[in-house]
């Protein structure tokens, strides 16, 4: 009998998998509540992607409404989002800061020159420490941070034209008063 039990292994594995897939169906891959909303953005001091000698701190950005977009050259979904971001940056609605997440400096630079650079400045977060402070689950993610340095909005996954039109633009106008 014991010998026969091993023929049941595939069935058992399948059941576990099905449970997960079933649970996965209930979830929206793009929606995650963020505990950061309404709280101060985590502090950071990172070098610029293009200038390893220049450091940017969170407090340098106090007093303006800005956007933080987490990206990486290895991230396929970022390519999907990228043209939209480039177009959005032409409107100059607010400064866009990139967080180059767990990437190589050369790869990041090359990616920007290849696909266009929507960022005013990209910050280089090679070990992902700052990303973790921001609670980054998956790349890309986008945050809107107000003049007092408080996170007001978070988008998981690529931003879409609808998100820009219905959420980001009204929010930025309101924050800029």
């Amino acid at each position: 009998m014991k010998k026969h039990l091993r023929f049941l292994i595939p069935l058992a594995l399948l059941l576990v998998l099905v449970l997960f897939l079933g649970a996965g169906l209930q979830l929206d891959p793009r929606e995650v509540p963020s505990p950061l909303i309404g709280k101060a953005a985590p502090g950071f001091a990172l070098t610029r992607l293009d200038q390893p000698g220049t450091t940017v701190r969170r407090d340098d950005l106090l007093g303006k409404v800005w956007m933080l977009n987490v990206w990486a050259s290895w991230c396929v979904a970022c390519r999907e989002e990228h043209p939209l971001l480039v177009a959005f940056s032409r409107d100059k609605l607010l400064p866009i800061y990139g967080l180059n997440y767990k990437d190589q400096r050369a790869d990041g630079m090359q990616w920007l020159s290849r696909f266009g650079n929507p960022y005013d400045v990209s910050l280089f977060d090679s070990d992902g420490r700052v990303g973790i402070d921001f609670g980054v689950y998956g790349v890309p993610e986008t945050f809107i941070i107000d003049k007092q340095g408080v996170v007001r909005f978070k988008q998981i996954g690529p931003v879409t034209p609808e998100v820009i039109r219905d959420k980001i633009e009204p929010l930025v106008r309101q924050l800029n008063g």
């Binding site: 023929f7 595939p10 069935l11 079933g22 169906l25 891959p29 396929v76 998956g138």
Partner: protein
């Protein structure tokens, strides 16, 4: 306004009725020995095929007639769409590609009904009944959640156009090939289930299953290669594999299918691995179903995931659970009784094949883990992450290295028991040549690189060992060249097929290594008349002009390429805007060659008339797809082997 869509819709319902009959009566007939019920299987399969073909034809005709009163056509076609892309549009979206899936299943079903007349009646009845059950599931799925014939009122004046990414010759043929492969594993699956039910799991079962599995595997290989080639020239950034969930969904059945082909060989020749082979047959098709679920349900976000709808996901999940769960339960019940087959020693061809099987399965498991991991963490409430190429590269490569090593040893090892010193002696020349060739290639390419050398060693090892195997078989024993030819004629075609397929793997491997290590990618800002030199090729930007395509407007750049002052070619990369969806598309221009591709595509216009131009030199990149093609050809040779036909003549 015609009734074509209604006819199509109606024939799908009729097809469902026939499929219900096909999946029940012959199965019961086989259980109770009712010959008249079993005899229904073949005509039912034929009528199912005819009905689905009618529906498919109605959809194609409606596409060609620009019938935008059909929702699916309105969202995937346009009156200005060129003819061949209207055809491709039939499978350009969710509903149509499902219809294609069912159509392919029916093609396989009819093929089984036609070419397996020599099988025992009960077995054939069960096989067709199992395939009938699968078609019931997919027909229901289509009719309940994704009907391609739904009407749209009011009728829009024109359609929303086919996604410009799909308007490409590669996309016309990629899905049918891929689906032929995916669905083709249903034959091996049905054979396995029928054999488990009937208790006829033996060497003849393996012999019947082998050609079907090989053909399905061949189509899948070509389908994946086409998809990869499409990504290479159509997405405009020169990559050929992205470890995207949808790509992984096609790779997993391929890996398991490859394991299955090899396992079947052992079961046919030696009677061993029976319960393992039957499990692989079930798994290969299960992975096809899982792939369908991943692509259709929207549980994972992906570059080319289709429109998502939770009802669809739930339906497929339930279907998947029923089909795979029932098969595994049947397996758990019947497999313990099939016995072990011939014994073999630790060092033997059986062992190398078993090891390779395990490696392939582990590789498929690793790909599945990487694909599902984000979903698992999410379901456990541990957060959301994305797994990128770093994971797959670091897991997949170490698994493939021993696989390729064993691929060289396996065919030379003897069945049942082999001797290590004997193997080492026979393979010493292959090993020596491998090392020299790998280092020489690195030196010729300009730099000997550690990882690249490992990859090249693997590739040349495959060539060397296949060469050794071949030479041992044709080596003349005293009588000169005529003897070589005579002995060559004696090699079974199937064996030549295997050698060819293995050479294909080596060719593929060379392509991957050379591109990964020695490619040069450069993005340069160029004004008209300026030039840049990459690996000895001088690219000169000669300006742009505007032109109008049938359904797009394009800016076409002209880039002349020269080497040492003599002209090589002129490339015309394009930036296209498709009029309906207003999507910008980058069409790369490629000068393909045996040892390198010159790849030019247009980036963004900068100031005045300067453009960012992407200039790539990709060494040996075409070997990647060439290798896949050679593998598929090897599969073709294997299927053409005389013994499958002889077998049929005797039994017919």
């Amino acid at each position: 306004m015609t009734l074509l869509p209604e006819i199509g819709h109606f024939s799908l319902w009729l097809a469902l009725g026939v499929a219900l009959v096909l999946s029940t009566l012959p199965m019961l007939g086989a259980a109770y020995g009712r010959t008249d019920w079993m005899a229904l299987a073949r005509p039912a399969a034929a009528s199912l095929f005819a009905l689905v073909l009618l529906a498919f034809g109605c959809l194609v005709a409606s596409f060609l007639r620009d019938d935008f009163s059909v929702l699916y056509i309105a969202s995937n076609s346009n009156s200005a769409l060129p003819f061949q892309y209207k055809i491709a549009g039939v499978w350009g979206g969710h509903e149509g590609s499902l219809l294609l899936w069912v159509q392919m299943l029916c093609v396989w079903m009819v093929a089984v009904a036609l070419f397996s007349r020599h099988l025992p009646q009960a077995l054939l009845a069960r096989i067709l009944a199992v395939m009938g059950m699968i078609s019931v599931g997919f027909l229901l799925f289509m009719l309940l959640t994704s009907n391609p014939f739904d009407r749209l009122f009011p009728t829009p004046p024109d359609g929303n156009d086919l996604n410009p990414l799909l308007q490409d010759p590669g996309m016309v043929s990629h899905p049918p090939m891929l689906y032929m492969g995916y669905v083709g594993f249903s034959v091996a699956f049905a054979f396995a289930i029928a054999a488990l039910i009937g208790g006829t799991l033996d060497a003849t079962w393996a012999r019947w299953t082998r050609p079907w599995t090989t053909v399905a595997w061949m189509f899948l290989t070509i389908g994946i290669a086409l998809g990869s080639a499409w990504a290479y020239y159509e997405l405009g950034w020169g990559g050929w594999w992205f470890w995207d969930p949808v790509e992984n969904a096609s790779l997993m059945p391929w890996l398991v299918g490859t394991a299955l082909i090899h396992s079947l060989a052992v079961t046919e020749k030696r009677g061993s691995f029976k319960s393992w082979t039957v499990l692989l047959a079930i798994l290969a098709f299960s992975f096809s179903l899982l792939g369908t679920f991943l692509v259709r349900s929207g549980v994972l976000s992906s570059v080319h995931a289709f429109a998502t709808d939770p009802r669809r996901g739930l339906f497929i999940l339930v279907f998947l659970t029923v089909v795979i769960g029932a098969s595994f339960a049947l397996y758990a019940w019947r497999a313990p009784t099939v016995g072990l087959g011939a014994r073999f020693a630790l060092i033997s061809r059986e062992t190398t094949l078993l090891a390779n099987n395990v490696l392939f399965l582990v590789a498929a498991g690793a790909v599945m883990l990487g694909t599902l991991y984000p979903l698992l963490l999410d379901a456990l409430g541990l957060g959301k992450i994305s797994v990128g190429p770093p994971y797959f590269d670091s897991v997949f490569m170490p698994l493939m290295a021993p696989t390729l090593f064993l691929m060289g040893v396996g065919p030379l090892a003897r069945w049942k028991q082999a001797q290590v010193p004997d193997l080492a002696r026979r393979l010493q020349w292959a090993a020596g040549c491998t090392v020299i060739a790998a280092l020489l290639t690195g030196w010729l390419a300009g730099e000997i690189h550690v990882v690249a050398t490992c990859g090249l060693l693997m590739a040349f090892w495959v060539f060397g060992s296949v060469g050794t195997d071949f030479w041992e078989r044709v080596r003349p024993q005293g009588k000169g060249l005529a003897e070589v030819w005579r002995r060559f004629r004696q090699i079974p075609v199937a064996l030549l097929g295997m050698m060819l397929a293995h050479v294909g793997v080596g060719v593929f491997c060379i392509g991957v290594v050379m591109v990964k290590t020695y490619e040069v990618e450069r993005d340069v800002k160029m004004r008209v008349g300026e030039s840049t030199t990459v690996r000895g090729y001088t690219f000169t930007f000669q300006g742009t002009r505007d032109l109008e395509g049938p359904n797009y407007s394009a800016t076409r750049g002209t880039v002349a390429v020269a080497r040492d002052t003599h002209a090589v070619t002129v490339l015309y990369p394009e930036k296209r805007i498709y009029r309906v969806q207003q999507n910008p598309m980058t069409n790369a221009s490629i000068n393909a060659g045996l040892t390198r591709d010159l790849y030019v595509s247009m980036g963004e216009p900068v100031d005045n008339d300067a453009w960012i131009i992407r200039v790539y030199v990709k060494p040996f990149v075409d070997w990647i797809w060439g290798g896949c093609l050679i593998m598929a050809l090897g599969g073709l040779l294997a299927v053409l082997d005389r013994r499958y036909r002889r077998n049929k003549e005797v039994k017919a």
